[in-house]
Symmetry: D2
Subunit: 138 residues, 4 copies
């Protein structure tokens, strides 16, 4: 059985990420997730440029974030993205942890589907290029 790919990036919480309560505003986690997702997709050579060249875009159709513990200004994080499903849609799971203690701070997922560009026609099965990039097909 082939193991699905994952990636991890380090991040430091910036002043502009934090709200009047002094913690990261909840909407910014989508940016943190995207840093890790982008590293994951670059790792299988299927980043935004390769997607476009393949004739597809992969819009996010579902986002879920579970906030476990408030994240503070200056805190150092590790954001992990792991591919969970790929055959019909691209489901990626995320974990945010404190870089020092390893404590879990948040988790979540995104779901993306392939659409043709420029027609934006949704594909019910992931195009062959994805299995190829994952090393699961020739």
């Amino acid at each position: 059985m082939t193991r699905l790919p994952h990636a991890e990036v380090p991040l430091t919480v910036q002043f502009h990420d934090c709200d009047p309560l002094g913690v990261v505003w909840h909407g910014h986690y989508a940016r943190y997730f995207e840093h890790a997702r982008s590293a994951l997709m670059d790792g299988i050579d299927y980043g935004y440029e390769q997607m476009r060249d393949s004739g597809y875009a992969w819009p996010v159709i579902d986002l879920h974030v579970r906030y476990v513990k408030a994240i503070r200004l200056g805190q150092k994080l590790r954001v992990r993205a792991a591919l969970q499903e790929w055959e019909h849609r691209l489901k990626i799971g995320y974990e945010l942890r404190d870089a020092d203690s390893g404590e879990k701070l948040a988790r979540g997922h995104t779901i993306q589907v392939a659409v043709t560009v420029p027609e934006f026609e949704m594909q019910l099965v992931s195009p062959a290029i994805l299995a190829h990039k994952l090393g699961l097909a020739p």
Copy 2:
């Protein structure tokens, strides 16, 4: 039976909301939701200032967004927030619709819990002030 409150705000998609695909970047929906949530909470006289004065903050502990149809630059929207649960946590549901056609573009929810300020101690039952603001208690 008392009907729970809701609120609706109009929004126009700005250039800075849109990504290289020419549509609203998925992470920005959390800002759109917050516009409507803020109108909802102001409507029951329990906005951020009143929350702080009441000794509580209400951090978001769960966010879900379901993207139904891509939203384009310049599109005019109506964002609706409706209170769904309040006894143990504040659950608010959202709908984004095209302002002209009424077509549904996205839906989602946020869940917030009360924490004491400045101790950040989580409350398992919503503090009495919330029922009072909702007109459900003296």
Copy 3:
């Protein structure tokens, strides 16, 4: 003498605009300016869509913001954009005022130049379409 166009939009400061000091984070003023600039350009029928159809993009090449007084959560604003130069470049001036008191809170400018799309070739003179849209040429 023809008077150059201007536009004004109302805005209410949102929670996600504010930083740990409880005031609008300085980088977000560029979004506030863009709301007013977008209204100004729509007003002369030369918004982003019309720009693209005309074969040009107008990237911002210079931004200046002078912060006069801190802007607080929930504060209601009026943002004014006024065209100041157009022959060789598009220079727009901005003023942010408190909607109630009229007190000036910030001022600034952006400078944009026309570039051909998709070549991104910079134009040293604004293309004829701009004077036409401004009603200064047939």
Copy 4:
């Protein structure tokens, strides 16, 4: 003569930084600057936490950005912040360069002044703590 401190951080342009033209939206440069400024201030042990502990906040009162060349999705950058003035105000200059070629992509500055917390009373001379942190006073 003592040399004033500077700092440099690496950054990779993310999808959420880019606009419908496929380049970094001009307002996001303020975030890039802040990454480098934060590294600079941490380097002299006068980051946001130390500022607050010293009884002062340092709001930005002036921002200027000059955009030299459009920055593209995925591009790797070096952002440099260098202290330029400190006696009456904190003036920091910035340079954004392509990490590979060294080509200059943007420059700019921010000006900050000390205000007492929580009174927000502006100081016309930088408080002694700054000279101390800079190693220019005992």
